[in-house]
Every structure is written in C-alpha cells, then in structure tokens.
C-alpha cells in the first residue's frame, strides 16, 4: 500500500521536476529577472527528491523512483504518440468532409 502511495508521489515529483525544468525555457525571455527564483525552485525539488531516495527504505525508494521513471517515459511517449497522430491526420485520405 505504502509502495503504491510512494509510486504516486514519485509521479507527482517528476511532474514538478519537469515543470521546474521547463520553466527555464518558458521564461527564457525574462531569465535575467527570474533565474534565481527558478534555480532555487529546481534545487529545492532536487534536494527533496534526493533526500527521499536517500532516506526512504529501499523498497519505498524503489517505488518512488519507479513512479518518477514511469512518468518520464509516459511524458516522452505521449509527445511522440501525439506527433505520430498529427502526422497520420495530415495524410488521412479525405480532408474535405
């Protein structure tokens, strides 16, 4: 049960980590104003993430890590699946009706 919970927390952690990373791209145009805030946020998340991995018992840490890994694969996979879908849509036979 606790493993399942940690798996979900791992998913949420990866969501936060990815979002924190993307923020550098999203706010690139105002990086001079935001770099410190963004870096701090990313560092805090990383520290929290590493702490979880270090201090949790091995089974729970593993579930937490699998949660993160699963979401990372899902996130990348969804991007390419959508890409492929758009490609198929572009070349579908009837585009007029």
């Amino acid at each position: 049960m606790l493993e399942a919970l940690l798996f979900i927390v791992g998913i949420q952690m990866m969501i936060e980590l990815l979002a924190a990373g993307y923020r550098f791209i999203d706010l690139k145009y105002r990086l001079a104003d935001y770099w410190m805030r963004l870096t701090l946020r990313a560092l805090c998340l990383l520290v929290f993430d590493l702490s979880m991995l270090l201090f949790l018992p091995a089974a729970l840490a593993s579930a937490f890590l699998w949660g993160q890994f699963a979401y990372l694969v899902f996130h990348i996979g969804v991007f390419w699946i959508i890409r492929a879908g758009l490609y198929l849509l572009r070349y579908r036979p009837d585009k007029t009706n």
Partner: protein, 859 residues
C-alpha cells in the same frame, strides 16, 4: 410568333414569354414603370432544341454532369436560324427607333417553370448585362444553355419537374443604368410574416445583391401604416457599376469610400418603392419579390415574382445526431464560409459542418456525462451548460469519466504546472512564432493552424502553446466552485453572487485593455475640437486616410498605429477567415472612437463604481468571516478565500488572453489565403476579392495549379454565396437528430436565459446587430446583441447591462460583464427581435431573466 414586345404579353402567357417575361408584360399592362424590351419566345427555344432529342426524366444518361456539359456546349455551338436572327435584329431596330437612341440590353432567362409560387429557380438561370445588339444571338443561346446547368437540373430533379417540359423564353430589356438598385419583399422572406415590407438596396446594379457579393442596406416598413420601422446600413464594399470603364473587364468594382456606409435610399425612394410594391402584391394576389432600379431618381421595376419562403427550403441535414459546438456559436452566429469550414475541420476533425455551423457528434459528448439521463437531457445539458434537475450518478459512466480525467491529468499535468503563476506577458512571443510561420512558404494555409496550435517541439516554450493554455485555463471553474461553496458555508448570509463579484476586476485582461485603449484614442481626439469634428462627420471608410493626411491628427494616428500593432489582428467574427482584420480596415475602431465622442460618458466613473463595488464586497466577506469564526480560524479562512480568488482571477485571465493569441493564428491563415488570392487574381483565375472563401481548399489548390479555371468555379462561387446568404438568415438548430424540448413558452413581457453576471438593472435597451456599422450606445443603456466577441468589448464600457442571444457563463459576454461589474443575461432566444431599441427593460443577471416593461411601468 418568334418575337413579341413586352407590352404584348400578360401573366397568362407564361408558356410564350416564360415566368419573368409574362410578369414584366403584366406589370407594364398594369401601369408599373418597366423598361421596354422584347421577348424571344419559348417556342423559339423549342424549335432550337428540337434536333437535340432531349430524353425523358426516366431515360437520363448515367453520367449527367458530362451529358449536361456536352449539351450546353452543343447549344453554344449551334447558330440560331437565319429567320430568328433577322427577327431579333428587327425587334432591336424598332426599339431603338422608339427610344431614339442606341440601346444596351439586360438579357434575362425566362423559363416556363420559373417564378412559380412553389419554385423560384432564383439565380439558377443566367442574366447578362451590357449586351450590345451584335451580341444578342450569343447571349440568347447562353441563356438557353443555362437551363441545363447542373444547378438548374438538380433543382428540377428535386422538384420532380420533367426536364423536357421546361422551355425558356429570353427577355431582352433595355438596361437601366442604375444608380441604386435592390429587392423588395412584400413579406418577410425568412419568417413569412406578412406584416412587413423588406427592402434591400445597394449602389449600382442589383446583380451584386443577387450574387450575394454585397451586404445590402435593409429597410423594414410596417405594412399596416407604411412607416419605416428599422434601417440597417451596411458597409457596401462592392458594386456592379452602371457602365464599364474602357478596358475594364471585371464587372465588379469597389464602392467609393464616401458611399460605403452611406444610406443608398432616401425617404421618398422608400415611400415610392413601398407604394408600388403593395400595388404589385395587390395586383398579383400574393406576396411579391420585386427587383427594381433607380436611375436619375426614376424608379423602374425589373421583375416581380411570388416569394418562396426561404425557411421552407432548408438543405438536408446529414444522418446522425449532433449538438451545436456552442463555444464557437456563442462568438458569432453566422454560417462559416466553405474555405473556413475546410480549414477548421483540418484542425478539429471531429466537428461536422451542418448549414455552415460547427456541430459535435453526440456520441462524442454522451460518454462524458456521468449521469443517468436520457439522450435528450444530455443534449440539453451539452448545449445549455446547466445541470438538469437532480440527475442520478451513473456508476459505469462515472468510472469511465474518472479514467478520462486521470488520463487527461497525467497528460496535461506538466503543462498545468508550467502555466501556474506566469507573468502576464509570457505568451507575447507567440506573435514572433506566428510571423515565422507566415513567412515560411513551405507551410500552406491549410497547415498553418496545425503548426500554430498543435505541432510543438519537445522543448517549445509554454507561451507558444496557446491552445493548450486555453485548455488548462478552465481550472477556474473548480476554484470558483470551491470558493462559492466555502463562502456559502462560512458566510451563509452573503448573497449567492458574492464569489463572482469577488473575482471580478482582474488587471491584465487583454480584451479589457483593448477597450480602455480605444477609450484612450477617443480621449486624444476629444482634446482637439477640430479633430473631434473630423471624426464625427467624416464617413468611416474615408476617415482613416483623412486622419493620416491631417497634421493635427498626428498624435491620434500615432496612438492608433500603436493600438493596431498590438490589437490589429482582431476583427468582428474573428473565427471566420473571411473577416477583415482591424489592421486591414481600422474603420470599426474609428467607429467606436466616434461612438465615445458622440456620447457624453465617462468610463472612469464606471471603473470607479466597479472598484468601489469590489471593495465593498471584500469588506462584506471579511466582516462575515469575522462574525462566524474565532480570530485564528478567521485568518486561515481569509487566507484560503484570498488564494482561491487569486487563482480564479489568474485562470480567468489566462483563458481570455489565450483567445487573444489564438486569433493571431487565424489571421496568419488569412494572410496565407490572401497571398494565394492575390496570385489567382493576377493570373485571372479569380475575378473578385473574397471569392476564394467560397471555394473548398482542394478547389483553391486546383485553381492554383491551373487544373481549374475561372469558368469552372464561377457558378460554384455564385451558388455558394447565395447559399451563404440563405443560411445566414436561418437560426442554427441547437441539435440535429435529437429533439430537445423547447423551453416553456415565455410570457410576452418576460424572457429567460442564463445569468452570466449577477446584478439587476433597469434601463433603456439598445439593440446593436453589428458594432462595425452601428455602435452608438448611450451611457446607462442596456446592450442587446446577437452574440459578442472581443470586438464588442468597448460597448461594455458604455453600457450598464447586457442581454445576448447566445452564450454561456464562460462566454466572452459573461466574462467581460463580470469584469465590468454589470448584470448580464446570455442565451436569451431571439432577444434582438423581441426587444426593441428604446424600450425599457429589467435585466436580472442573478436570476437569468429579462423583463420588458409596459409603457405604464416606465414612469
């Protein structure tokens, strides 16, 4: 008898002169002013086609299109008999002698089955203008060939008319060099109401109206007392001039700037047309559709025929069940042009276009509703966006929906987090992104939307993904819902609309800023009386050039350019690619500036009132929280409320602002289409601007590749323009294939809709159908509109309440009304026809009702 003059025929001689010729003869005999002419009788046609051995309906060849094409070509290639050619020439000479001058003709087809009360054949047979005597033979054969066009053929098929039995006379009538022309219906052609006379007019020849190329001025006269009850002046961009300039090949030309928004008819014209139209109706014994022309202030009737009620001829709907795509319908109610339909379907393949409007297949909606409801109730729910009365939860459907929501959460979770608490300008980079797409010639117009909205790189900045921003923004529905229920629990005595009022007044909403900047333009103009005079007296179409050439207007022009640099991609009906953007035609903006100058309003008062109202509500909430909780708990609750208000305001802003950027992509598509259009016009493959929007994308591609030519698409364009006009007069069905109960009949003094912004206001109604042509609303008046989009926002600064025919709580009207703190009721069916400008009404945005007050109540 091969040729007869028009004054020799009457209404009983349809077999001889065809419907049009017989009617014209009858009009002349009855003393109506009709230009003289002669008729090449239907017998001549019969003799002409005798050798063609036309088959009976049961023996038609399989490939009718090819057969019709061959038949038409044969008709064009076969010369008239020498005796008929001589008779035509003699009739011309006789007419010339009678008129004492050389004559140019209008050559009109006049089929024996046309202009019947049950089948109009409107626009299906040819008419030719500016025809010289030497061209008569050819044009007469062309008219005969038009009897066998695919459109006319299909129409006869649908009406079960035996093709062989239809014959065609041709009317050669002296061409009136119209200064103004138009059509008068002695009953409303859409509703069939026989209490009004509807007149539509335009500059030049009436062909521009008949072809659907121009939005005419419209005059509505009460039949009982013949008083003018409504006038709609349109922006008349094109006209067919009365004479062609040397070397002019296209019969369409642009209307001079000073005439575009000018009334095409004067009062005495309307009186004369009305009187004669009534006389014609009385004479023929049924409501008439009359084409007329005015030359040198003299009125001529060109034809009169029975009205066929448009509403009875709706094209068929496809099989299946569909629900109107409300988020598009609430932004404008007109049908989309064929090209817009094609390109939107590329982006959202699931939508189905019916009567030019976007519908969603019902089977896409059904699984998303987790309640035990009938299909009819689900359709109502999908359209009305309001829960049915206490529906029961369906467990299987709830589980399915939960799975969808979890999947959606996982897919969008990163993006949700990325867009939380971003600075207001984070989507500004989308403008450069769009410019790059426009400049990239490898991306076609059809692919532009996909590139702008869906084809993202893995590391694309969130500000470039404006469609996804729009999809994640409705989170405010949850935060607002939570806020409402918490306030109801923690502050039970506060009114229900407190949460909405608390979340209004967000800074940084671009469409709100747009209204304020237009107001700023008016303030610049107000400082200089001479400039004010120019703006309030110069016709809108020439105003921009006048301002640009006037040194005293330099500050205003600078401010206008700055405004257009930011908001120039916006337009009225901006989902339609055919809608001109403000950058192309800033006339509507200058019209709004003029409106502000004409009315003595101070929107600062309105803003101050809104600010005070919000502060009062905030104070009420703070006091109520303090009354119902000990200090520490009060602080926690206040913090939760503040956080929910901030979140709601932020996501509301995100939704409204992402729309601002969506429209840039629509403009990008338009720019690409315009590029193709310029090339097609240059190569003479198209003859008139905007015609391209009446083609399908594959036809545009074929034209561009010169697989098609102008002659292949000319009739298609004309037919589709006519169809577009017809569809635009029809209120779209909310559902197709599913009957939903009509709401209970309303009392004559009360209309119901959805409350979109709370509050109650009593005042004078001002019905505005199109802010580009009429945007005068006085402070304190109530805006009554068919729909609204951001182009309407400036009107909200002057109005004190709003009533809108379509829309929902989330629609533009609701969002902006809440921002401005004014009551607003949306989804009020037919409010623009049921509420008259100048009448006193009460708008209750909390209850979602509008009450029409009697004269006695006005005191």
């Amino acid at each position: 008898m091969s040729i007869v003059t028009l004054d020799q025929v009457n209404k009983d001689q349809v077999d001889v002169a065809g419907g049009k010729g017989a009617n014209l003869g009858e009009l002349i005999a009855s003393g109506f002013p009709v230009p003289p002419g002669f008729v090449v009788t239907a017998d001549c046609y019969a003799a002409f086609v005798r050798d063609f051995k036309l088959p009976a309906n049961d023996d038609l060849p399989g490939d009718t299109a090819a057969w019709l094409s061959t038949l038409r070509q044969r008709m064009l290639d076969t010369p008239l008999s020498p005796s008929l050619s001589i008779a035509i020439q003699q009739a011309h000479e006789a007419l010339m002698t009678q008129r004492g001058k050389d004559i140019l003709y209008a050559i009109r087809s006049s089929a024996t089955a046309e202009d019947r009360a049950d089948a109009s054949f409107a626009g299906q047979h040819e008419t030719y203008y500016y025809v010289e005597a030497r061209q008569l033979d050819t044009m007469i054969r062309k008219c005969w060939a038009s009897l066998w066009s695919e459109e006319a053929f299909s129409y006869r098929q649908s009406q079960a008319i035996e093709h062989r039995s239809v014959r065609m006379a041709v009317v050669a009538q002296e061409m009136v060099r119209s200064d103004v022309s138009g059509i008068t219906f002695t009953a409303d052609p859409v509703s069939g109401s026989d209490t009004v006379i509807v007149t539509e007019s335009c500059w030049g020849m009436g062909a521009a109206i008949v072809d659907g190329r121009v939005s005419p001025d419209q005059y509505i006269v009460d039949k009982s007392n013949q008083t003018l009850t409504a006038i709609k002046i349109s922006n008349k961009k094109c006209m067919v001039p009365a004479s062609l300039a040397p070397n002019q090949t296209s019969r369409l030309q642009e209307v001079p700037a000073e005439l575009r928004n000018k009334e095409s008819l004067q009062e005495h014209h309307i009186e004369r047309i009305t009187a004669l139209a009534l006389q014609a109706e009385q004479h023929f014994g049924c409501p008439q559709d009359i084409e007329w022309a005015i030359h040198d202030d003299e009125l001529f009737f060109l034809q009169s025929r029975p009205i066929t009620v448009l509403g009875e001829q709706l094209p068929q709907v496809p099989p299946g069940r569909y629900v109107l795509f409300k988020s598009m319908a609430e932004n404008f109610t007109d049908p989309l042009s064929p090209l817009t339909q094609d390109l939107l379907k590329d982006l959202v393949p699931m939508i189905k276009m019916i009567h030019g409007r976007a519908y969603i297949p019902f089977n896409h909606v059904r699984p998303l509703v987790p309640f035990q409801l009938s299909d009819e109730d689900v359709a109502r729910l999908a359209y009305l966006s309001e829960p049915a009365a206490k529906p029961k939860i369906s467990l299987p459907r709830s589980l399915f929906l939960a799975l969808i929501l979890i999947g959606n959460y996982l897919m969008m979770a990163v993006f949700n987090r990325r867009t939380a608490n971003m600075p207001d300008d984070f989507m500004d980079g989308f403008r450069d992104h769009i410019d790059a797409i426009v400049e990239d010639e490898s991306i076609s117009a059809a692919e532009t939307m996909m590139h702008a909205f869906a084809r993202y790189r893995f590391f694309e900045p969130a500000g470039h993904m404006v469609l996804l921003v729009n999809l994640v923004a409705p989170r405010y529905i949850f935060t607002l819902g939570i806020l409402k229920s918490l306030l109801a629990r923690w502050c039970p005595n506060l009114p229900a609309e407190t949460a909405s009022l608390l979340c209004a007044g967000t800074d940084g909403i671009l469409s709100k800023e747009m209204g304020q900047r237009i107001l700023g333009l008016a303030e610049v103009a107000r400082q200089d009386p001479a400039l004010r005079q120019i703006i309030t007296t110069t016709p809108l179409t020439g105003l921009e050039s006048r301002l640009r050439s006037s040194p005293s207007a330099s500050e205003l022009v600078g401010a206008l350019d700055s405004f257009l640099a930011k908001h120039g991609h916006r337009a009225l009906k901006e989902f339609e690619f055919n809608a001109p953007r403000w950058e192309e035609d800033p006339g509507p903006i200058l019209g709004m500036v003029r409106n502000y100058l004409l009315v003595d309003s101070d929107p600062a008062d309105s803003e101050s009132r809104i600010r005070k109202q919000r502060l009062r509500v905030q104070a009420d909430v703070t006091a109520a929280l303090a009354r119902h909780a000990p200090p520490l708990l009060r602080l926690i609750r206040q913090g939760v409320v503040n956080q929910l208000v901030r979140q709601t305001q932020y996501y509301l802003k995100l939704r409204e602002n992402s729309r601002f950027f969506h429209i840039m992509a629509f403009y990008a598509v338009r720019r690409k289409i315009q590029r193709i259009e310029a090339s097609l016009l240059e190569r003479d493959l198209l003859k008139c601007r905007d015609d391209i929007f009446y083609l399908h994308w594959h036809e545009v591609s074929d034209l561009n590749d010169e697989k098609l030519g102008w002659s292949d698409v000319e009739d298609l364009i004309r037919g589709r323009r006519m169809e577009h006009i017809r569809l635009s007069k029809i209120t779209p069905q909310k559902t197709v294939g599913i009957e939903i109960d009509s709401p209970a009949p309303e009392s004559s003094d009360s209309l119901s809709g959805q409350g979109a912004s709370p509050g109650r206001y009593e005042g004078i109604a001002r019905v505005i159908m199109d802010p580009a042509t009429n945007s005068e609303i006085a402070p304190g008046e109530i805006l009554v509109a068919p729909f609204t989009d951001p182009a309407w926002t400036p009107l909200f600064l002057t109005a004190s309440a709003a009533v809108v025919e379509v829309g929902s709580y989330l629609s533009h009207a609701g969002t902006i009304a809440r921002e401005y703190g004014m009551p607003c009721v949306v989804d009020v069916a037919n409010c623009t026809s049921k509420i008259a400008s100048g009448s006193r009404i009460v708008v209750d945005g909390t209850q979602g009702s509008v009450t029409l007050l009697e004269e006695d109540d006005n005191a």
